[in-house]
């Protein structure tokens, strides 16, 4: 699948990335680009390779082949261009949320000026003085998101930002993430719940079984899906197709 760029000067460019675990190919010839100020959603079912892709981008997993560049420079762990927020972690469980945010600001050079807004936007005021290990799944997710949002890196790669959140919290977090683009932050989010992705993302990359099956805006993906459906003798109404239907058609 050729890389689809939103601009001629993408912030992140991935070319022919491949990763295997012994006999299992987790990622096969993955290529895409992310433009500045975009919120791009990486959509795929469980086991599609989303987390593997993100950890390869962040340099936390060695890739077998491929090139990953940010602003045309190769990315290495510790890069100032990209910060990866993993899913399902409870870092520093004996420390408070307040400590974690102080740590993000002090150790990583995070933005102290944004702290109040991030805390309020993610609804963390009530849990600031609780230890991370005692938080619920949703509270922990929001605390870790807060750490990520305070990072100074221009590109945030977030794995499942809405996992563990209820509907109201999902909408609130989506609003916070969208608001980040106004300060020129670029985001690459992995989301397996398609309605959530449609709510927050500008463009989408469809990943299935380690391969990119489609990339573009909803309109572009719908057109791709419609032409593929036509070849198969089926019909997709471009004016009414949902992202779910487009995803199912392309994968």
């Amino acid at each position: 699948m050729p890389a689809t760029t939103a601009s001629s000067n993408p912030l992140l460019e991935v070319q022919h990335l491949t990763k295997s675990y012994r006999a299992v190919t987790a990622l096969s010839d993955v290529s895409f680009a992310v433009g500045r100020g975009e919120v791009v959603g990486l959509i795929g079912p469980n086991g599609a390779g989303k987390t593997t892709l993100f950890e390869c981008l962040a340099g936390l997993l060695p890739r077998d082949s491929g090139v990953v560049t940010a602003e045309a420079r190769p990315i290495a762990p510790g890069s100032s261009q990209l910060f990866y927020v993993p899913d399902g972690i409870a870092p520093w469980p004996a420390e408070t949320v307040r400590w974690a945010l102080d740590y993000a600001i002090g150790f990583f050079g995070g933005s102290a000026a944004d702290r109040t807004g991030v805390v309020r936007g993610l609804g963390l005021e009530a849990v600031l003085d609780r230890t991370i290990g005692t938080l619920s799944k949703g509270q922990r997710k929001r605390a870790v998101l807060a750490v990520g949002l305070l990072m100074p890196h221009p590109l945030l790669v977030i794995d499942e930002p809405f996992d563990g959140l209820d509907l109201r919290q999902t909408r609130e977090v989506a609003a916070v993430l969208r608001a980040q683009t106004s300060s020129h932050r670029t985001m690459l989010l992995s989301i397996h719940q398609i309605p959530d992705a449609a709510r927050v993302c500008d463009r989408f990359i469809l990943l299935s079984a380690g391969r990119v099956c489609g990339a573009g805006t909803l309109a572009e993906l719908t057109a791709q899906a419609a032409s593929r459906a036509a070849l198969a003798g089926e019909q997709i109404d471009p004016g009414r197709a949902t992202l779910e239907e487009v995803f199912l058609a392309l994968t």
Binding site: G78, A90, D129
Partner: protein, 421 residues
Amino acid sequence: MASPSWWIMAGLTGPLVGLSFVSSVRSYAEVSAGAGGGCGAVCDPLIGIWAPTFSAYELVAVFLLPFVAIRLMSGDRQSGALKLEAQHPLRPLARVAAKAVALLGGWIGINMAGVVAIGLWRLYGGSVSAPEIATVAAGQLLNAGVTVAIALAAAAVADHPSTAAIATLGATVGAWAIDFVAAIQGGRWQRLADVTPSAMVARFQHGLVETSVTLTAVAGIVAGLVIAAVWLRLGATVGHRARLSAATLAVGAVVVLGATMARGSWDVSEGRINSFPENDEVALRRLAAPLSIEVHLAPEDPRRIELQRSALAKLERATPHVRVTYVAKSASGIYESSDPGYGEIWYELAGRRTMSRTVTDEGVLETIFALGGVSPAPDPEMAFPGHPLAARPAGAAAIFYGLWPGAVALAGLFALRGRTA
């Protein structure tokens, strides 16, 4: 240091140190009372009080400290904090070194129990030699450093903390096994046993600071920390990390080999228990030719053990031109004892040879001086008189078994609650 595991280690250290201190003070009192006024080296606080008291820290280093270190390293991996921290520009080696410094800082903190013991001994009227205590403590600190390095490396390599714990304990048991085999077979095993942590600590506990031992310990610490840092590089393949680790171990082995050849040692014991009398050492250094000694005793023979640990160890420190070889057909010597020649110790100097069967310091020196035709000047100083003290360990039990654990428990609760205040 803020972790519950450190507080548990701190709480247990007091009673362990107290047990050793109380029993050593009682034994020392018995020996002092029985020996009368001039008990010499028998009433040496270094051997009678500080070595046994601080040996409690060896137990702590083997059975408690590794788990504190493993928790510190593995906790980051298991909680996911490692995935965040690995994205910081700080090099993995710097991160590992920071953890090691924090752990050794915590180690120094639990040495307060030893400081309490020193204070009590002074209160009882005992003699305190700062160089001796500093040397004993330094040996325990180096031992702790080696333990921390092994534990951090194991925790970085292993997927699960329990695997790291087993690996670390395995390293300790392996070192003990080497000591055991060396005691039976000697030879190459003895050379290997000379660089185990317990052998290293034993030297410091006797007030002996050796360049070779210190360098070996430092090399081991650095190698362990480097291996830990290598395995924290999550973006490197397992094969690459394994090759780097193997290279680190190879370089470490070469450095250790070189370190064992380093000469340079200092006997800080008040009673010069690791050295011959001053004038005897001056006379030994006047020997012009190299001295060869051939020992016909089996490794397990107590006479050989005494000869090696006392006279020959002092001789090798006093003069650089000594070569010792051992001739034995078996490990125990039981079936050799009837052989003519068994038990003989042959000395060769400048083409002259003589034989002796004595293994005491005085006997060995007498033989060498006679062979070399030198005589030491009479020693104007009196022999070390010792510091007899028949004192009861008053209050020590209450402090170490009651006050210390209670204070640590309160402080720990306060510190851990303070996080969420």
